[in-house]
C-alpha cells in the first residue's frame, strides 16, 4: 500500500538535496567551527552560508540577524522569555488564543512571574480580533506575539498591521512563522516585525534545527548560557550538519515557492471541494480567503475525529485531528474552541496539509476512501 502523506503541517519529508548536503558533515567535515586550526575553522564558512540562505528566504537585511536554534519551540521561547526579560520594564504580554503551545507556554510562564498577559480572541472563521489589540497595545509597552499563520486552519494573520500597532506604542512584535516561512513570500526587512521564529522540519530539513530572526537593535536575553556562539545569543556548539541542511532547504523553498504554491493550492482546493460535496455534514473550519495554500481543516458532524483518522490510517492516508480523544486530553482543539466551532462538529475535525511532494493521485485516494469512512461512522452514530 502506497502511503498518502497529508500531514505536512506536523512534519515534512526531508528533501533529497538537503540530505545530500548534510552527509559530508556527518562523514569528513566534522570539525568544530570555533576551532583555531584549519580542519575545524573551515567549517565556519558553511554555517555562515546557511545563515545567508535563511536570511535570503525571509528577506532579512543582514544574515547576522539570524540565530540558529534547535527547533521552532526554542526560537519561540528565546523570543518571548528572552525578549520580555531584556526590556527595561516588564512588558504587557499580548498573544492570541490560537497560538501553538510553544508560544502560549512561555507566555503563561511570564504570567506566572507577574507579567500581565492578554490573549486575543478570533472570530468564527479564525480571524484575529484586531480592534481589541488596538486598545490593548496602548496600555504600556507590550511584547506582542501573534503567529503569522495558524497550524490547524492555515488562517493567515495581518502581521504588518499588528506590527504597526505594536510599534506605535513602543512595543516589540514577535511572530511565530513556523507554518508561514517557505509558504508565504516575505521581505522581513520591510515589515514591522522584530522577531520571527522558523523551524527546519516544516520545510523539508530535518527535525532538530530552527532559527530566530532578531532585527538589529532588538535586545534578547539568552536562555542557553556559557558560550560565545551565535553572537552570545545561544551558547552551545553549532549543529553544523542540520544548519547546513536548513540553509539548503531555505534555498529550495525560495526557488520554488511561487510555482509550488499554485500547484499545491490546486490540489488542496480540489480535495476540499470534493470532500465538501461528497461527504454529508462536512463543513470547513476557517475561511477560504487569507489562508495558507496547503491547509484545509474540515469537520464532520456527528462523528469523531480519532475514529476517522484510524480508518484513514488503515488505508495508508496520514492526516491529523483536533479531536480530544486523539490527544489524550479531554478538551478538543483550543483553536476550534476559540473559533466557537459547535459541539456536534468540534470533535470531528480533520486537517489535511500538503507539500510539494504530494500528487493528484493522493487527492484521488482521499476522495475515494473518505466518503465511505464518513458514511460507515455515521451509521454507527446515535445522532444521525
Amino acid at each position: 500500500m502506497k502511503m498518502v502523506y497529508l500531514d505536512n503541517n506536523a512534519t515534512t519529508q526531508i528533501a533529497d538535496e538537503v540530505r545530500e548536503a548534510i552527509i559530508p558533515f556527518l562523514t569528513d567535515l566534522w570539525g568544530n567551527p570555533s576551532s583555531m586550526h584549519t580542519f575545524g575553522g573551515q567549517i565556519k564558512k558553511y554555517v555562515e552560508t546557511a545563515r545567508e540562505q535563511v536570511a535570503a528566504l525571509i528577506g532579512a537585511a543582514d544574515p547576522r540577524e539570524i540565530t540558529f536554534t534547535s527547533c521552532g519551540s526554542e526560537s519561540n521561547n528565546l523570543a518571548i522569555r528572552g525578549g520580555a526579560e531584556a526590556m527595561d520594564k516588564p512588558p504587557h504580554v499580548i498573544t492570541s488564543k490560537v497560538e501553538h503551545a510553544a508560544v502560549s507556554g512561555p507566555c503563561h510562564y511570564l504570567e506566572d512571574r507577574g507579567f500581565r498577559l492578554t490573549k486575543l480572541d478570533v472570530d468564527g472563521k479564525g480571524r484575529l480580533d484586531v480592534e481589541t489589540l488596538r486598545r490593548e497595545v496602548k496600555a504600556g509597552k507590550s511584547l506582542t506575539s501573534i503567529m503569522w499563520a495558524n497550524n490547524e486552519t492555515g488562517m493567515i494573520f495581518p502581521v504588518g498591521l499588528i506590527g504597526e500597532m505594536v510599534h506605535e506604542f513602543g512595543g516589540i512584535f514577535h511572530t511565530d512563522g513556523v507554518q508561514a516561512v517557505g509558504k508565504i513570500p516575505m521581505k522581513i526587512s520591510e515589515l514591522p516585525i522584530d522577531m520571527l521564529s522558523l523551524s527546519g522540519h516544516k520545510l523539508h530539513a530535518p527535525k532538530g534545527v530552527g532559527a530566530l530572526y532578531i532585527r538589529r537593535g532588538t535586545k534578547v536575553k539568552p536562555l542557553v548560557l556559557g558560550g560565545h556562539q551565535e553572537r552570545g545569543r545561544r551558547a552551545g556548539t553549532e549543529n553544523v550538519p542540520y544548519i547546513v541542511g536548513l540553509g539548503v532547504a531555505c534555498d529550495l523553498a525560495a526557488k520554488h515557492m511561487d510555482e509550488e504554491n499554485s500547484r499545491v493550492k490546486a490540489m488542496r482546493d480540489r480535495l476540499e471541494t470534493g470532500i465538501l460535496e461528497t461527504c454529508p455534514g462536512a463543513r470547513l473550519n476557517g475561511d477560504t480567503e487569507g489562508r495558507l495554500s496547503n491547509t484545509t481543516n474540515i469537520s464532520f458532524d456527528y462523528i469523531e475525529g480519532e475514529a476517522i483518522l484510524l480508518m484513514l490510517d488503515d488505508r495508508g492516508i496520514c492526516a491529523s485531528t483536533g479531536s480530544a480523544c486523539a490527544s489524550g486530553s479531554l478538551e478538543p482543539s483550543h483553536v476550534l474552541r476559540a473559533m466557537q466551532v459547535g459541539g456536534m462538529s468540534v470533535h470531528g475535525s480533520i486537517r489535511f496539509s500538503f507539500s510539494t511532494y504530494n500528487t493528484d493521485a493522493d487527492v484521488d485516494a482521499v476522495l475515494t476512501e473518505l466518503p465511505k469512512i464518513v458514511q460507515r461512522l455515521r451509521e454507527l452514530s446515535p445522532f444521525v
Partner: protein, 278 residues
C-alpha cells in the same frame, strides 16, 4: 498514537451488534455531542428473561466503539441480574486492556447498561442527575458516579479519576472537591475491608448528615416540590424542619421516618432518630 490491543482494534474495525433493536425491552443513552462521546444501548429479552439481542450506536473514538460493541457481546445470554453485575473493569479486561486515558470509554459502557436496565424496569428515561449531585460541571459527573468509579477502579489520584470518568478534565475548578472525595471513598473502602470503622466526632457526624441530606434526601423531596433543613444534632437525635410542599403535607410523618430517618440510619448510624421541628 494509541497502543490499542488487537481486540480493541478488531472490535473497532469490525464491530459486532452495531445498529438498532426493533421494539427494545430496555434502551439507554449516555454522553453527549459536546462531551465528545455518546452511547445508545438497546436490548431485548427472550421468554426466559435472558438478553437475546443487544445493539449499540456510538459517537466516539475507536476505544468507545470497541467498548460498546464488546459490552453487547458480554451481555447477550445473561439475565438482567447477571448483566447488572458487570463493572467497567470487566469491559476493560474483556478487551485485554485500554490505554489509561481511555478507561472512561468503559465507564460509559457500564453507565449505558445501567440506563438501559433502569429503562427496562421503570419504563422511564434514565436521568443520572437525579442520582446525585453534579460535581464536575464541564462533563456533568455526579458524586454517585465518582464514588462508584473510585471504588470499582481503586482510584487514588485525580488523574486516574479523570481518565476513568472525565471528572476534573475541563476547567479544573472541581479538583479540590475530587481530591477530598477520593480520599474519603478510598479511606472508607479500606475501613470497610478491615472492619475497623472509627467512631466519628460530633463535627464529622454533622458533616456526614448534611452530606447524606444533600445527596440522598433532598433530590427526592425536591422532585415533589419539597425540601428540608437540618436544625440541630443532639447525640443520635437529628432535628429537621420541612420546607416547601413537605411542610403541612399529610404524609410528612411517613416521609420523616421512611425517607429521612431510613437514609440516615443507613449512611450515618443505625441509632439515629429523626424528629421534626415545626
Amino acid at each position: 498514537m494509541w497502543d490499542y490491543t488487537d481486540k480493541v482494534n478488531e472490535y473497532f474495525r469490525n464491530p459486532h451488534n452495531a445498529g438498532k433493536v426493533e421494539n427494545p425491552d430496555g434502551e439507554g443513552q449516555v454522553g453527549s455531542l459536546a462531551c465528545g462521546d455518546a452511547l445508545k444501548l438497546m436490548f431485548k429479552l427472550d421468554d426466559e428473561g435472558r438478553i437475546s439481542e443487544a445493539k449499540f450506536q456510538t459517537f466516539g473514538c475507536a476505544s468507545a466503539i470497541a467498548s460498546s460493541s464488546a459490552l453487547t457481546d458480554m451481555i447477550i445470554g445473561k439475565t438482567i441480574e447477571e448483566a447488572e453485575q458487570l463493572t467497567n473493569k470487566d469491559i476493560v479486561d474483556y478487551l485485554g486492556g485500554l490505554p489509561k486515558q481511555k478507561v472512561h470509554c468503559s465507564v460509559m459502557g457500564r453507565e449505558a447498561l445501567e440506563a438501559a436496565i433502569y429503562n427496562y424496569r421503570t419504563g422511564k428515561k434514565w436521568d443520572k442527575q437525579v442520582e446525585g449531585e453534579v460535581i464536575c460541571h464541564c462533563f456533568g459527573v455526579t458524586d454517585k458516579e465518582i464514588e462508584q468509579v473510585v471504588r470499582e477502579n481503586d482510584v487514588t489520584t485525580v488523574e486516574e479519576l479523570t481518565n476513568a470518568c472525565k471528572a476534573g478534565g475541563g476547567c479544573g475548578n472541581c479538583i479540590p472537591d475530587l481530591e477530598s472525595m477520593i480520599q474519603r471513598f478510598s479511606a472508607e473502602g479500606v475501613a470497610e475491608e478491615t472492619g475497623a470503622a472509627r467512631p466519628m466526632t460530633n463535627l464529622q457526624k454533622i458533616h456526614l448528615i448534611e452530606e447524606v441530606i444533600d445527596r440522598e434526601i433532598r433530590p427526592a423531596l425536591r422532585q415533589d416540590g419539597g425540601d428540608l433543613e437540618l436544625v440541630d444534632v443532639d447525640g443520635d437525635t437529628v432535628k429537621v424542619r420541612f420546607r416547601g410542599a413537605c411542610s403541612g403535607c399529610v404524609v410528612s410523618a411517613i416521609t420523616l421516618k421512611d425517607v429521612v430517618e431510613a437514609r440516615l440510619k443507613d449512611n450515618v448510624s443505625p441509632d439515629v432518630v429523626v424528629e421534626e421541628v415545626k
